[in-house]
């Protein structure tokens, strides 16, 4: 399969020569600990917000803004993407993801009744437990960082 559209995303380090310094993979452990503790604290506080409130919206929008800045304003050091992926291998992923959406849509169409719950209806009660919600928010934040590096 031919690669997708032209790679028009500027890549580190060509455009930002000031960021040329090479970091070792395990470097700056203290910084990582501080950032990790900050993210964990943020997740814990964010998990205390009540759904459908302004604060609940803000705890999502703030990381969203940070990711937008990192993604477009000050790109992080990125992991080089593959030049091509196997179509057959990719189709396995596509089939599973489409099946997940279809299963969810079928439940949503039925108004997520007790006998045919949507994934959201199944997950919401679990997220009602604060430590679980905090852990989920932390995973979401880390996945946002992982996506910025892609």
């Amino acid at each position: 399969m031919e690669p997708m559209a032209a790679d028009d995303i500027p890549r580190w380090p060509e455009r930002w020569p000031g960021r040329l310094r090479v970091r070792s993979r395990g470097g700056r452990p203290a910084r990582k600990v501080v950032i990790g503790a900050g993210l964990a604290a943020y997740s814990w506080v964010a998990a205390s917000t009540v759904p459908f409130t302004r604060n609940a919206l803000l705890v999502v929008l703030l990381p969203g803004a940070a990711v937008a800045v990192l993604a477009y304003g000050r790109p992080a050091r990125r992991i080089p993407p593959p030049d091509r992926v196997d179509v057959t291998g990719l189709s396995y992923w596509a089939v599973c993801i489409i099946a997940l959406f279809e299963w969810e849509a079928a439940a949503f169409r039925d108004n997520s009744l007790w006998w045919h719950p949507s994934l959201t209806a199944l997950i919401d009660p679990v997220l009602g437990v604060r430590p679980v919600k905090a852990a989920a928010i932390l995973i979401w934040l880390l996945s946002g960082w992982a996506l910025v590096r892609r």
Binding site: I9, I79, P81, P82, T88, W115, P117, S143, L147, R150
Partner: protein, 66 residues
Amino acid sequence: MVTRVLTILGFAAVIAALAVLELLGRRKGSRIPTLGEWLGYVMRSRAGRLLILLGWLWLGWHYFSR
């Protein structure tokens, strides 16, 4: 009751299949891309990057704000 269990089993089966694909993709010489590889591939273009990041933001809003 049976319908509810079947629905939950359906979700579990699909999520398990996704996990298996990730494990298979991590094998040496595998033709199946890992989650990170195909996401990186999709995010090569500006539109793909925007789409994936918006999807991430939507997930956060859907599960944590409402």
